[in-house]
Point group: C2
Chain length 168, copies 2
């Protein structure tokens, strides 16, 4: 039994989308994924990619993935590494593949001079919460995540157009 981790290449895009869909099912949002292969190819493999991806293989078979990008810490004046998705297929759990992916992501953060590795976990996902806590992660429970989408986002954006026109 051997686990290998490698950077994703363009031909992995169908696999990446499979992992994204499988993770959405686990997160109880099976219909939330509208991303297409074309989207992931365009945004991850151009000259200025929006994201990076690692693929874990167990004995040559795709077993899991880590999907990340860089954010920025105004306090430290350094980019941080943000882990958007971490997933191991159920049939490959128990081999330490999730930990190996997380360790590789941590190594990339250290290599890139990022003082922080950040991610999110669903509050009901107790095994994951316990796993992260055991590794020495801290939970920033004082902070609430806020999101604006759809009509609310369009309405707010329209306030800016009005202002710009009024100022010209």
């Amino acid at each position: 039994m051997s686990t290998t981790i490698r950077k994703a290449v363009p031909s992995d895009v169908p696999l990446i989308l499979e992992f994204i869909r499988a993770l959405a099912v686990y997160e109880r949002e099976p219909d939330a994924v509208t991303a297409t292969e074309a989207d992931l190819l365009r945004d991850g493999f151009g000259p200025e990619p929006y994201y990076h991806c690692l693929i874990a293989e167990q004995d040559g078979k795709p077993a899991g993935f880590a999907f990340y990008f860089f954010n920025y810490s105004t306090w430290t004046g350094r980019p941080g590494l943000y882990l958007e998705d971490l997933f191991v297929n159920p049939e490959f759990r128990g081999f330490g593949i999730g930990k190996a992916l997380l360790a590789r992501v941590a190594a990339i953060a250290v290599e890139k001079g990022c003082p922080r590795l950040q991610w999110e976990v669903l509050d009901w996902n107790t095994p994951a919460v316990d796993f992260y806590a055991a590794l020495g992660a801290s939970f920033l429970d004082e902070w609430r995540n806020v999101r604006m989408t759809g009509e609310a986002l369009e309405r707010l954006a329209a306030l800016d157009s009005t202002r710009v026109e009024a100022n010209v």
Copy 2:
């Protein structure tokens, strides 16, 4: 009285750092800022900037800022806009400058094809929470923010080195 919003330029870096420090004081972490002007200049104004910044001016005086970068939504297959910092100096509050900055950020998100604008708010910052809710934002309280830094991050990264050596 007129508010204008413009993109930050390299000579704004000292001002950006002032805003970051003032926000840290408001967030009850006055000593948390270790970022330097050199850091912010290097990371925000090179060929592939890690962040973007808007400056609001009231009657020509610097009044506030918005500091953002792009993240990525695996569900929608699109970059999202992440607002790291939004701050208006206390003496300039009550003129709608915060809302104007947020509207400009929303307009940039729409222009860039980002289906989501995201940010975080401290749970005790009730005026901000109410303000965002009134604009139609939603709160993703099921998600906990996780962070790994310092020795824990180094320890986790070291697990990867061991593995890589063992595999070679």
